[in-house]
Structure formats: structure tokens, C-alpha cells
């Protein structure tokens, strides 16, 4: 009899715990009853260049200081904002615009930045229609930098073997594919510096090149690799994306021949032997859901750097209606 009571007690206990959990869940954060205008903030969870660059734009902060729900990877943030009408996030332009059509990804809208902070988007601030328009604006310096930034290839000590041949080709003949892929060409002087830094040719053209790192560089590098392989079929190139942090760590640990990096290189990484050359440019842009409750006003007024700081750093701007005033 006693045992029977004990076993019934156990069942009841589980039942009570479930009930308790539901109650705690409900009472725990009551109040803010799903306001249709509340801003849902998304940031990157994994160590990456986009978040670092975005934080740098917001007054020189670091990724860890950005508030919001942490989502893994660039496609992850895009997906989260597409699913959330009240959401705001940031993406590399490669993930805010469709790779084939060059138009904004369906379900997402790129937020225009009100650079001169006059409360509206002037003609010269309006260049978000296609990836090509944004790339042109970045090249002309109309889009602020950061969040525009250089993208790098990194290796420990220096590039060697087929990787060196590949990097040299990227900096010379490879640059012709940059525009078409929706990236921004580096100025000629910067390319010349990079080639000088790379050093004299003693390139081998057989073997495998392993490349990991920034999502921002992934589509560009894939295209470069395809073109390069047409010229040198004996070279095999493995590319995977996992964030700039992974690219750096893999390169410095010798797990990858080339790390793709989309942020500045830290002094401690340089001290660990990071050798880098810039290869192209892109930018990070703010994105909202295409059904954002204040979309029309938002596209007219744009958002200022201070708006972004108040959203991601200070967490004081929490209502979409306040953004458009």
C-alpha cells in the first residue's frame, strides 16, 4: 500500500511540476502583451565580421555589446527577420540581396541610412534598390564606412603553394569578377600594396586549397574558385563558411590554407602570426521584415546611426512608431 502511494505520488509530482512550469512561464514575464509595434532586435551569436563591423559603426563597440536575440549565421538572421514582422537585424549585402537577381531578398527590406541626419532620405542617400546600386554607393563613399569594410584573406605566416597562386590570381585577373558578383573593387593602390606584400611568385599549381571563414566572402570566393579551376584544373578548392572568427582560428591553427575575414584583424591575432591581404569590399546593412508595421514611413525617413545605437546598445528605442517619429 505504501509503495502504491509512493508511485502515485511520483506521477502526481511530475504533473504538478509541469503545471508549475506553465504557471511560472506565464507569470514570469507578463505585462508587455505582444505589442504589434515592439521592436524585436536580432544580432549574431557566433563570432563574426558582420556583428563586429556593425558594432564598430555604432560608436566603436564590440560584438558582445550588441543586444538582442542571438542567431547563428548570416542566413539565420535573414530567416529570423523574414519570420518576424517586428524584427530588425543586420546582414552582409550578399545575404540581404538575392545572388542571382541582385534584388532585395523577398521578405526582407534594407533600411536606408539617414547619413546627414536631416530626418529624411534624400536622393543621394537612396541607393538600396539593387546590390549593384549599393556596391556603387560603397565604392563612391556614399555609404558610410564602417559598416562598409574591406574583406581579407588570412594565413598563418604567409600563403604558400597553390593558395599563394590563388590569392595572386584573385588580386589580378580575379578582380574582373568582383563587380558582377555584387562586391566592390579595391582601389588600384591598395591592390598594388597587397601584391607587394604577397611577395614573389614561387607558386605551385597542384594540390588542394582549404578555405573557411566569413559568410560575407563565401559567395565571392566560390565564384573565384570556379573561374580559377577553369584555368588550373589540377587544383582542388574546398570552401566552407562559418564566420570570420572560425576563419581566423582555423587559419592560425593550420586547419585552413586561407581564412576568409570580414572584420579588422586584432593585434593579438597579428602577434600569433596572422598574415593578411585585402581582396575586395562589401558592407553590412540593416534589414527589416517586408511587412514592417511602419515600412512606408521608414523608407522615407530612414534611420540614423543614433537610432541604431539606441536599438542595439542602449535598448532605449523599443517601439517602431518612435523610429519614424
Amino acid at each position: 500500500m505504501q509503495r502504491r502511494l509512493a508511485s502515485m505520488g511520483a506521477l502526481r509530482l511530475i504533473g504538478c511540476l509541469v503545471l508549475l512550469l506553465v504557471l511560472v512561464g506565464i507569470s514570469g514575464c507578463g505585462g508587455g502583451a505582444g505589442d504589434a509595434y515592439a521592436i524585436e532586435v536580432y544580432t549574431r551569436a557566433d563570432a563574426c565580421g558582420a556583428a563586429d563591423t556593425w558594432a564598430l559603426f555604432l560608436d566603436g563597440h564590440k560584438q558582445e555589446e550588441l543586444g538582442g536575440t542571438g542567431i547563428n549565421s548570416d542566413p539565420g538572421i535573414a530567416q529570423a527577420v523574414i519570420q518576424d514582422k517586428r524584427g530588425i537585424g543586420f546582414n552582409n549585402i550578399g545575404y540581404a540581396y538575392d545572388m542571382d537577381s541582385g534584388l532585395q531578398v523577398s521578405g526582407l527590406r534594407v533600411v536606408p541610412i539617414d547619413v546627414d541626419e536631416n530626418g529624411r532620405i534624400d536622393d543621394w542617400e537612396e541607393f538600396y534598390g539593387t546590390k549593384h546600386e549599393v556596391a556603387t554607393a560603397i565604392a563612391e563613399g556614399l555609404y558610410p564606412s564602417p559598416p562598409a569594410r574591406d574583406l581579407y584573406f588570412v594565413a598563418k605566416g604567409g600563403f604558400s603553394g597553390p593558395a599563394k597562386a590563388f590569392v595572386r590570381w584573385v588580386l589580378t585577373d580575379g578582380q574582373q569578377f568582383v563587380d558582377e558578383a555584387g562586391y566592390v573593387r579595391l582601389p588600384d593602390a591598395k591592390i598594388a600594396d597587397a601584391l607587394a606584400k604577397l611577395g614573389e611568385a614561387q607558386d605551385s599549381l597542384t594540390g588542394t586549397i582549404t578555405i573557411t571563414g566569413a559568410f560575407a566572402l563565401y559567395p565571392m570566393t566560390v565564384q573565384w574558385a570556379e573561374e580559377f579551376r577553369k584555368l588550373h584544373p589540377a587544383v582542388k578548392i574546398d570552401i566552407s563558411a562559418g564566420g570570420a572568427g572560425k576563419g581566423m582560428t582555423d587559419a592560425l591553427n593550420g586547419l585552413a590554407d586561407i581564412g576568409m575575414i570580414s572584420r579588422q584583424i586584432y593585434p593579438s591575432e597579428e602577434a600569433s602570426g596572422a598574415f593578411w591581404v585585402p581582396v575586395t569590399k562589401d558592407a553590412v546593412v540593416a534589414v527589416v521584415n517586408a511587412d514592417n508595421p511602419v515600412l512606408e514611413e521608414l523608407l522615407e525617413t530612414g534611420m540614423t546611426r543614433q537610432d541604431f545605437i539606441d536599438i542595439w546598445i542602449n535598448a532605449t528605442l523599443t517601439d517602431w512608431r518612435e523610429v519614424t517619429g
Partner: protein
């Protein structure tokens, strides 16, 4: 004569070889602990352990490495997952072994086994595309503001991952309860449910408990699927609709920062060590409970 000596020698060699393999396997745990401790040492000498474990301030650039939000995040998600998975798994196992006709059993079992073999990133994607929006709707229906990336989503995804394992083992265990015991209790007038609850479940309880523990250890260390839906905010959750940041997600997400700061790597290794110690504590506690259960309800 010679032949026997050769055979003895072979036997001896084989025994020794297997002994050394066994020792190697057992030593791995020690090697892992020592390795992690070695890497975590720099931060342990610089900052007091209680501050590292109980502070909730995680700002690596300011050299603040408080892990408490991550430890609590791990526990929240795991406990929620087990609360969902355990009742569901046990009742399913009881149904499959005691009530289900052979045709249903033959259909469901292989499906569950397949479920157990799906890679965790697939569960993560499923969570992202299906569970997160549903949980967001549930939160809205309850008048809570949440975007769906929270403890509950993580718990549900984990529960789905855990229950094939728990069901499959529990079901096997329940089937090992001798048939005579069912018949005896029913001969005394017990209904089928009474026999199941009072005789079968009790007799199988040590095995079911072991199955739950196995599920729990899978849940506490699961990284990818949870990381994709749990929100990754470094703040201790106070309800199931708050985001959480479990320890495995912390380690996986910040792998790339290891080279950026000298102490960062050390802090991540400490996080790994803390996770390992948590799992060890639970395993030892589970072992103690298991021994007591076996003594109390043994069928012998």
C-alpha cells in the same frame, strides 16, 4: 607440448592487449579533465573561482568572464526538455510494450529508431522553421511578448531529440518484466492498468530511470540544435519564454574568438570543464539513485 605453450602465449598476449585498450579507454576521461584544467589554468590563477562561477557579468573585452548565466541557461533548457520528454516517453513505451497490437508496434518502432539517427542540425532547422513560430504564437496567445527564440523552443527541440532514445530503451526494459508477474496480478483481480502501474512499471523502474539518465546526458550536452533556436542571450532566464545561452552554445559560438584575447581561450576551456563537471555530478547522483532503486524494486 610446444603447441600448448604457444597457445598460452597467444592467450596471454591477447589478454594484455585487451587490458591496455581498457586502461586507455578509462584514462581518456582523466586526460580530458587534465587537458581542460591545464588550458583553463591561466584564468583560474587570475580570477577567483567563485567570481567566475557565480558572477553573471560576461564581457570578455573587459575581462569579465562570469559563467552563471550560461550554467543556469543549460539547466533551464535541459530541465524543460526532460519535463516534456519523460512523461511522453514513458507512456509511449508502456503503450508500445503492453497495449499496442503487433502491427502498430512493428510500424512505430522503426520510425522511432530512424528519428534517433537524424543529425542534430536537422532538428535545429526543424526547430527554426516550425517550433520557433509556433512557440511565438503560443506566447502571443498567453499575452507574453516573445519572438519564439527561447527556453521553451530549445526544450521542445531537445525533447524531440531525447525521446526516441528513452522510448526505445524503456520499451525494451518493460518487455523484460516476466510475463508471469502480469498474469499473477491480473489473477488477483487487478485491471490491466493496475497491473501495468503497480507491477510492470515498478519492476522496470531501475531500467526506465537509466533510460531517462541517458536521455538527460544527451540533452545537457546537445549543441547545434539548441543553439539555433534558444536565442543566445547571456542573461539568466526567469521564465520559459526568455532566451537562454547554454554552455555548449557558448563554446561553439565563440570558438572563433579564441585567438582574439589571451584569456578568452582559457575562459572557454573553463566553460567546457564546468559542463563536464555538471555532467559528472549528474551521472554520479544518478548512479546512487539507480543502486537504491534496484535494491528496492529488484525482481529477483
Amino acid at each position: 607440448m610446444k603447441n600448448i605453450r604457444l597457445r598460452k602465449l597467444k592467450d596471454l598476449l591477447a589478454t594484455r592487449w585487451m587490458l591496455s585498450l581498457t586502461v586507455f579507454a578509462a584514462l581518456l576521461l582523466v586526460v580530458i579533465v587534465v587537458g581542460l584544467l591545464n588550458k583553463a589554468w591561466p584564468i583560474l590563477t587570475l580570477q577567483p573561482l567563485n567570481r567566475l562561477l557565480f558572477s553573471s557579468d560576461w564581457s570578455p573585452m573587459r575581462e569579465e568572464f562570469g559563467l552563471s548565466a550560461f550554467v543556469l541557461g543549460t539547466l533551464w533548457v535541459t530541465v524543460v526538455a526532460m519535463l516534456i520528454a519523460v512523461p511522453l516517453s514513458i507512456l509511449t513505451a508502456v503503450y508500445l510494450s503492453e497495449y499496442a497490437p503487433n502491427s502498430i508496434r512493428g510500424l512505430v518502432k522503426p520510425l522511432l529508431d530512424l528519428l534517433a539517427g537524424i543529425p542534430s542540425v536537422v532538428y535545429g532547422l526543424f526547430g527554426l522553421l516550425v517550433i520557433v513560430p509556433v512557440v511565438s504564437d503560443i506566447a502571443a496567445a498567453l499575452g507574453v511578448s516573445s519572438n519564439g527564440y527561447n527556453v521553451l523552443s530549445g526544450g521542445i527541440v531537445l525533447a524531440i531529440m531525447v525521446f526516441p532514445v528513452v522510448i526505445s530503451i524503456s520499451e525494451e526494459v518493460i518487455r523484460t518484466v516476466p510475463h508471469g508477474m502480469r498474469e499473477a496480478s491480473m489473477a488477483l483481480g487487478a485491471t490491466k492498468w493496475q497491473a501495468t502501474k503497480l507491477i510492470i512499471l515498478r519492476g522496470a523502474s531501475p531500467g526506465i530511470f537509466a533510460a531517462v539518465v541517458l536521455g538527460f546526458s544527451r540533452a545537457i550536452g546537445e549543441t547545434m540544435a539548441v543553439l539555433m533556436v534558444v536565442g543566445n542571450v547571456a542573461r539568466a532566464p526567469s521564465s520559459v519564454f526568455d532566451p537562454a545561452y547554454p554552455l555548449p552554445a557558448l563554446i561553439a559560438n565563440n570558438y572563433g574568438e579564441m585567438m582574439s584575447l589571451p584569456l578568452y581561450e582559457s575562459a572557454l576551456m573553463l566553460a567546457a570543464l564546468v559542463l563536464l563537471v555538471l555532467v559528472l555530478i549528474f551521472s554520479v547522483a544518478a548512479q546512487v539513485v539507480l543502486v537504491r532503486l534496484e535494491r528496492r524494486y529488484s525482481l529477483g
